[in-house]
């Protein structure tokens, strides 16, 4: 690629056809990228686009399958984070690699060359953090610090190495807007010093605000290289989410039924520092409808699923309504008994016990809701093996689950086949309400289309279906209505045929949601 050759000249870091394959899945597929000295370079892409994989290869955490990395024009092999640091690459991870039990100074000392006393490191860190406007107390334990303060440690730790290139992986995803502004000031200072920054984000606004150039990834491939300031948010969004029009399935649904699932001003506090709180979420799903909730991962999807399913009930019973009855305070089995089904995101360890056979996994999920069918002996609850085996067989046939043997352990199935089973396990009950989180995450195309068809068919039969997904192709295929979740707030729902990918991209990136949020706060 001639254009790329030119870009490589005079660049600080360049990668040439870099590829990383996991099994048969290419997380990064022939990526070209060139970063000039003294520029803030954005790496844009949706979750799962391959950004983190690329960066891990640059920092020596993962080994590339093929392709070259060039540092100042010279091919290099970065075999470990230490090798990366020696070259002059510093990294600020998205999920911090900090040690909670240690102090700030100790955390920093671990990434420094040996032979420097802790006292000296504390002093240097304090000086450096002040000069970049990142105040830190070297003696504080990390366990006591806020997320923003923890990120400062990571940044100071990277800066103490005096790097030529600093990689920041989704740095603002955990920051308050004020903390983010502070970070941008720091980045401007670094740029003024002639250092380069590789800034990974999916937030268009930030990228347009601070970045000089951008490389856009989609499904592990480069889909664009541009100056973000010359682009419009919608042209960036198109590169990010793809411009090819998906064939929206003809819904062919009959008239809208009653409201079967509803959230009324549903709020829930974050359970952990990394969780998102739900803020005044309102949604309605009618029978015959598929409401899809789009959004970048980590914006409250899991929390919404937990609240709707009853894995973590909320204090306000009226906040969640199933078939117009308040269920907010009820647990998941009580909600299942009211004719609803739930499919969580994680196949292994959440939706299924990997080591147990499919039939046992079936009993575990439905032993309360289908007690009569599967359990005998009154209070003893003896498992009716015959009934369970028959149901397992039926589900596998309906969903075309390919497996080795009659009743293999869940863990031995491929991701797609296990997912088909898990979805089929709920569909088998013909639920009137189905809530699914990321139904086809990491699933092959064949299984994905089988699952999507099943969801559409269920809605056609008159049930209310809510799909939480990050995959816009999927959303356009199954949804009749679409809403977008951002930082725990849900947008209004729009009919799927009235929404463009650009608009969803913008909502996902947090634009326009500000207005939305204000109108909600005004209630």
């Amino acid at each position: 690629m001639a254009v790329h050759e030119q870009a490589v000249d005079g660049s600080l870091l360049a990668v040439d056809k870099l590829t990383k394959v996991f099994g048969t899945f290419a997380a990064c597929d022939h990526i070209d990228l060139a970063i000039k000295p003294g520029e803030i370079h954005a790496l844009l892409g949706e979750n799962g686009a391959g950004k983190s994989t690329l960066v891990k290869m640059l920092f020596g955490v993962l080994a590339p399958t093929s392709g070259r990395i060039l540092w100042q024009g010279e091919p290099v092999r970065i075999s470990s984070p230490n090798a990366a640091r020696k070259l002059g690459i510093g990294m600020v991870f998205q999920h911090f690699s900090l040690f909670e039990a240690l102090t700030v100074a100790e955390n920093i000392a671990l990434s420094m060359a040996p032979g420097i006393s802790l006292a000296k490191i504390s002093e240097e860190a304090a000086t450096l953090s002040r000069s970049y406007g990142l105040p830190l107390d070297p003696k504080a334990h990390v366990a006591d610090l806020s997320v923003g303060e923890r990120q400062r440690i990571e940044i100071v730790r990277a800066l103490l190495q005096n790097p030529r290139l600093i990689i920041l992986d989704e740095p603002t995803s955990v920051l308050t807007p004020q903390e983010a502004d502070r970070l941008f000031d720091t980045l401007a200072k670094l740029k003024a010093e002639g250092r380069s920054v590789l800034y990974i984000s999916h937030r268009l606004e930030e990228v347009q605000r601070i970045c000089d150039r951008a490389t856009v990834l989609r499904h592990g491939k480069v889909t664009g290289a541009c100056d973000p300031r010359q682009e419009t948010p919608s042209s960036l969004a198109r590169m990010m989410v793809g411009s090819d029009v998906a064939h929206v399935s003809a819904e062919g649904t009959s008239a809208r039924g009653d409201v079967l699932l509803e959230a009324r001003h549903l709020s829930a506090a974050a359970r952990t520092p990394f969780a998102v709180s739900l803020k005044d979420v309102c949604l309605k799903v009618h029978g015959g409808e598929v409401l899809a909730i789009a959004g970048v991962a980590g914006n409250g999807q899991s929390e919404l699923f937990d609240a709707l399913s009853g894995e973590y009930p909320v204090a306000d019973a009226n906040a969640v309504q199933l078939r117009q009855k308040p269920v907010g305070t009820l647990g998941i089995n009580a909600r299942r008994l009211m004719g609803s089904g739930f499919v969580p995101e994680e196949r292994h360890g959440h939706a299924a016990v990997s080591a147990l056979p499919l039939s046992d996994n079936l009993v575990l999920a439905r032993s309360v809701s289908d007690r009569k069918a599967f359990l005998g002996g009154g209070r003893l609850g003896i498992i009716r093996q015959d009934a369970v085996k028959r149901a397992t067989k039926r589900i596998c046939e309906v969903m075309d689950v390919r497996k080795s043997g009659e009743d293999p352990p869940a863990g031995s199935l491929s991701g797609g086949n296990l997912q088909k089973f898990i979805v089929g396990r709920e569909l088998d009950r013909q639920p009137s309400v189905l809530v699914v989180n990321q139904p086809t995450w990491g699933v092959d195309a064949g299984a994905a289309s089988r699952i999507r068809q099943a969801l559409v068919d269920l809605a056609k039969a008159g049930s209310a279906v809510l799909v939480i997904s990050q995959d816009l192709d999927e959303i356009f295929e199954v949804a009749t209505e679409i809403a977008v979740i951002n930082e725990g707030r849900l947008s209004d729902a729009y009919p799927a045929k009235d929404l463009s990918r650009e608009k969803i991209g913008l909502l996902m990136g947090g634009m326009q949601v500000g207005k939305q949020a204000e109108s909600l706060d005004a209630h």
């Binding site: 993962l62 040690f99 039990a101 671990l110």
Partner: protein
């Protein structure tokens, strides 16, 4: 020498192996490895120390034999749990059972023989200090080693970079790996150190405490050492305090009987464990102290993904 001094001397003798073994296990656990095989490594150390002493006539060679055999035995644990990624709890329990069995086999021909007692090393002048002198400066080598070990472990863990790396591996092995620290090697070394300490503690049984070999002579003190680490919430100085406390309790069983005090000895021998449970309740109540002191990766196997 008064009765108080005599009692204190027995307390020191009872506490020394607890402190040594617990300090070793503390270093192991600080690296994130839970080795429940302390009892097994101790008894192997005890039998090897005794056999080596009988063969060579030198209890000092016995000390070396005990320490080295404990370390070698822990290497088996390290290989199984770190290289082959076996479950640490199950492997540790197996190590204890294996150690008790193997030591009985090795020691069989030596059973009932009276061995050489480790000689006292008397510091001139210092040992003449009233009260303290005979307690602290008229002791055997293993006692002095235990004192050195207390300071050394504390200094190593909290004042050196290597100690910091070891603690970081125990706190979050994946983060440590991302920083380029060799997690597996660090853990091997920590396990070896723990094994050596347990072996040394075992040597104290058969060379100082009761200079002879009897089967099962460790009598559950490996478990007390394990409890002690939790009791101390993984802080070396608290191990020392706890070690002497537990040592005093185990001695008080004997003295209580001698003085005819009616506390059931079973209650006294259960006391260390009750104290440990109490401490666990207290520390787990406070999230912050748990976060800061407990090695967060304790007992978790590490497999680098690459």
């Amino acid at each position: 020498m008064g009765i108080v001094e005599a009692i204190l001397l027995t307390v020191i003798t009872a506490a020394t192996p607890l402190v040594i073994a617990a300090l070793g296990e503390l270093v192991t656990e600080r690296s994130g490895v839970l080795n429940l095989g302390v009892e097994g490594m101790m008894i192997i150390g005890a039998v090897c120390a005794f056999v080596a002493t009988q063969q060579t006539g030198s209890p000092y060679i016995g000390i070396i034999a005990g320490t080295v055999s404990g370390a070698l035995f822990s290497l088996l644990f390290g290989f199984l749990t770190l290289t082959l990624v076996a479950n640490q709890v199950a492997t540790g329990l197996a190590l204890t059972i294996l150690g008790l069995g193997v030591s009985g086999m090795i020691g069989e021909p030596y059973s009932g023989q009276s061995g050489a007692k480790l000689p006292q090393i008397v510091f001139p002048f210092l040992s003449d200090i009233p009260y303290l002198g005979p307690l602290l400066f008229k002791q055997d080598l293993i006692f002095y080693l235990s004192i050195v070990l207390i300071f050394a472990v504390n200094w190593f863990l909290f004042k050196t970079r290597t100690g910091l790396m070891l603690r970081s591996v125990g706190d979050s092995h994946s983060s440590a790996h991302a920083l380029g620290i060799n997690v597996i090697r660090t853990r091997y070394l920590a396990v070896l150190f723990g094994g050596a300490c347990a072996g040394l503690a075992g040597a104290q049984f058969s060379l100082v405490y009761t200079p002879q070999w009897t089967e099962n002579m460790s009598a559950g003190r490996g478990w007390i050492a394990l409890a002690l680490v939790v009791f101390a919430s993984w802080r070396p100085w608290r191990v020392v305090i706890g070690g002497y406390l537990f040592g005093a309790v185990s001695i008080s069983q004997l003295h209580a009987q001698a003085f005819g005090i009616g506390i059931p000895s079973q209650f006294l021998s259960a006391l260390p464990y009750l104290a440990t449970v109490a401490v666990l309740i207290v520390i787990s109540h406070n999230r912050r102290t748990t976060l800061i002191n407990t090695p967060a990766s304790l007992g978790k196997s590490f497999v680098p993904d690459r």
